[in-house]
């Protein structure tokens, strides 16, 4: 099983390290020798120096024996042409291209389905915009992911001081919560991932992950934080008018949320002003306190910082919060920063690179696994899979199943019903199941699902 990755940027690096960790043959192609050197020193992969759209280079990387080609270089054109050339050399290889420019966005659906010679294109920016929208709707949520076509949501939420369920043993939750008990799957405490047991309790500052069906999301959220749901967002300030900022503003215009965009580059401002109707475009530096003051940042419900520089984003978010903004959403791309963001007071973080990794994972873990997503810090994965008749999981109560220790079955979807399982639930063949697994347990989970290490 061989995977060729074009582009040794942050996304390429992360995917490569993930796959190499699981024992796959990974080849990384890039023109930049420095980036390749860094990868070679840190991960057990083969590196090839050169252009990904050069047939000789692709051949050298072993495209003919590979099963997947991931084109995640910075340039859209390079990614597309690499896929086209690869298709010529090896039609059976599955090809994924990352595409990011504005012009492609309206055709995203078409491209995903119908683009010739390429299996699919991914656009992490669209995913980021979607995530930001969800963050706007659900304050306090740190992570929110769809499963089973959006019917099941996997949500990470911060436990704050006012939360009524803080410091209560999970087995006693029903004494505080009347209606619905949230199914808490994982807790991140002091940068460590814990799978909680009945006698554990949630502490203030914890990041709790739970699973719920779509309809009950709001109710469960109010269990954690009774006062802040549903969110009433009227004014949004976006700092950085790049692709994500532009698309976010466009989405917000449709929802008639009043929106302002601060952008540094004047020609980009002109472009945005041309394309956006109701949004107010401001030319200036997002870290300029007087500009933030002038535009009433203290009256703003959400400040989204999306400049290219993540350090600036973090600082602007902190500044905006200090000036009275109710909430901030920050774009941070370096994975190494994620773990300590909560410590410095940055709560909701988005990353186009993380969403690129997630989208790609979704496509790589095919077979009987429908989608997969890695949660913050990459310590664990959530997967959606179909329970095969040959699997050990089916037709037995869950408590009798030998499942890897650091993994759990978090949801079962049968026909159109969604079951949040307990020890006595039985999985039937053909059910869709949602599995939560720590990184170490992933091979064991794949085995249990009888998907083996086989991809396509």
């Amino acid at each position: 099983m061989r995977i060729v990755i074009i582009g040794a940027g942050e996304v390429g690096l992360n995917i490569a390290s993930k796959l190499a960790y699981e024992g796959k043959d990974v080849v990384v192609i890039d023109k930049n020798t420095e980036a390749l050197k860094f990868i070679a020193e840190n991960i057990d992969v083969k590196i090839v120096n050169g252009s990904g759209s050069n047939p000789l280079i692709l051949k050298e990387a072993g495209i003919i024996e590979s099963e997947v080609l991931l084109a995640v270089a910075d340039s859209d054109e390079a990614n597309l042409s690499a896929c086209l050339i690869a298709d010529l050399l090896s039609p059976s290889t599955k090809k994924l291209a990352r595409i990011r420019s504005d012009g492609f966005i309206p055709y995203y659906k078409e491209l995903r389905r119908n683009i010739p010679h390429i299996n699919t294109v991914i656009n992490p920016d669209i995913e980021v915009v979607r995530t930001i929208e969800r963050f706007i709707d659900f304050p306090g949520v740190v992570d929110i992911v769809d499963f089973v076509d959006g019917h099941i949501k996997f949500v990470g939420i911060k436990i704050n001081k006012t939360s009524p369920i803080a410091n209560i043993q999970l087995s006693n939750l029903s004494s505080v919560v009347r209606e619905i008990k949230p199914l808490i799957i994982a807790v991140v405490r002091n940068e460590k991932l814990i799978i909680p047991k009945g006698k554990d309790e949630l502490k203030v500052g914890d990041l709790a992950y739970f699973i719920t069906i779509d309809k009950e999301l709001l109710k469960i959220m109010s269990v954690f934080n009774p006062n802040s749901f549903p969110a009433n967002v009227k004014r949004v300030l976006i700092i950085g008018g790049g692709v994500i900022g532009y698309n976010l503003a466009k989405k917000l215009e449709l929802r008639s949320i009043s929106c302002k965009v601060i952008e540094k580059e004047s020609s980009r401002c002109e472009y945005l002003a041309q394309k956006l109707d109701k949004t107010i475009i401001l030319h200036g530096d997002g870290s300029d306190q007087s500009l933030l003051n002038e535009e009433n940042v203290s009256e703003t419900d959400v400040v989204v910082t999306l400049t290219n520089d993540e350090e600036t984003n973090v600082l602007i978010s902190l500044l905006a919060k200090r000036m009275g903004a109710k909430k901030t959403i920050t774009q941070v791309n370096k994975f190494s920063y994620f773990s300590f963001m909560p410590t410095i007071g940055i709560e909701q973080v988005v990353s186009s690179r993380l969403s690129a990794v997630n989208t790609i994972l979704h496509h790589i873990r095919r077979g009987k696994i429908l989608s997969a997503i890695s949660i913050k810090g990459e310590a664990a994965e959530v997967m959606e899979a179909i329970a095969l008749p040959t699997s050990d999981l089916v037709s037995k109560p869950l408590k009798k199943i030998s499942f890897p220790k650091e993994a759990m079955i978090a949801g079962i979807m049968r026909h159109k019903d969604i079951i949040i399982p307990n020890g006595n639930s039985i999985i039937e063949p053909g059910d869709r199941i949602i599995v939560f697994a720590k990184r170490k347990a992933i091979p064991g989970v794949e085995k249990a699902l009888s998907v083996k290490l086989e991809y396509f």
Partner: protein, 483 residues
Amino acid sequence: MHWKNIFSIIGQLTLFLAITMIIPIIFAIYYKDNNLLSFIKSIILILVLSIFIRLCFKSNNNSTIINQREGLIIVSIGWIIVSLLGALPFYFSSQNFTFVDAFFESVSGFTTTGASILTNIETQPKSLLLWRSFIQWLGGMGIIVLSITILPLMKASGNKLYKAEVPSPVPDKLKPKIRDTAIILWKVYLLFSIIELLLLIAGNLSFFDALCHTFTTMPTGGFSTLNLSINHYHSLYIDLIILIFMIIGGINFSLHYQMLKGKSVMFWKDSECKFFLITCMFFSTLIALNLYKKVYPSIIEAFRYSTFQVVSIITTTGYITADYELWPSMSKLIIALCMFIGASAGSTSGGMKCLRIVLCLKYCYKELFSIVHPRAVTQIKINGQSVSNKIIRSIFGFLSLYIIIFVFFSIILAGMGLNVTTSLGSVAASLGNIGPGFGAVGPSKNYALIPNLGKYILTFCMLLGRLEIYTLIVLIVPEFWRK
């Protein structure tokens, strides 16, 4: 400057004018109105002139390429020469037109103004009345645009000529080729004219009256064959048909084309058209409320006359069903305002045009907006398309020139002894290609009493208005003639 090219094109234009005179000749023969000779004389004179031009300025190659400046000259001189030659049937007729009167009537026709020096219209020979209406129809969509569609020599230079004759602030080309665009516009124009003709005949008008009124409604001209204009009929049906077709004439013809192609409800999606229709409704309502009880006892009647008059003036047609000079001051002032607004760009109307007004208002809002948000970057948009600063600047230039010219010529006319209302009213009505003004040139009166020099000034205003100021006025800028 290639005068050879310029005059060879103008020569074709005059030849074309001679051909159009065949139509009034047919009517002269049919009605036996003793006016045949004036048209024959005119045709002969024009033919001689055309042949003379052709001999003197024979162009070497068939497809002449002209530049922007030559385009402006051709259009400006072309319009003046065509108006001069179009005046010949009036001058040669048995009705004792002085030269200036004939020229005034002709320019007023071609520019679709509809201002007349005739005191008794109904006694005129029918073929002459038809010619008078017919030249409005020709001038409405533009004689140059028409010749682009027909004359072969215009092919290569059509683009420049089109821009000079139809200087839309935000140009829209329906087809990649200008000739195809011009053909489409004329087809739409012809189609609506035929429909109106049939509807008017259905309203019991004689063929002659229906034809003449169609010829002057679609180009929003306003010449009538009757002394009392449309009020002669006292018919709600006729009022309504004319009203609808004045509005059609006041809407951008590319919108009509899109509607005819099946893209429905384009009118409400277009900001300019929306502004035009809302302005019409708003002013009609205001005037109706103002007139109710003071002039008309019933509100419905007040609405009927206010709507017709507002639409007639704002589309710069100039038909009359009620004498607005007898209305209260507020109504009169609103009518005066309508004279300046005009209808849509790309229509057959005159005035400042709604598009310019809309963009001007948007610009003012932008200025106010940037006081609140000093760092905001804003774009002026129309129909979702942003409008460049160059266009905005040219619009402000246009509006300023319009006002300057209006004030300047009003003062000159006042200097000739006309009173304030008359001088302001006549210049506004000429510059806007409307026809009836205020005071001595009000709706129930005519331009016969204006001194001769005043008539020349007003014809110049009409041409300025018809060619949207820049095309003609640039010729008096010395830089234009510098080699």
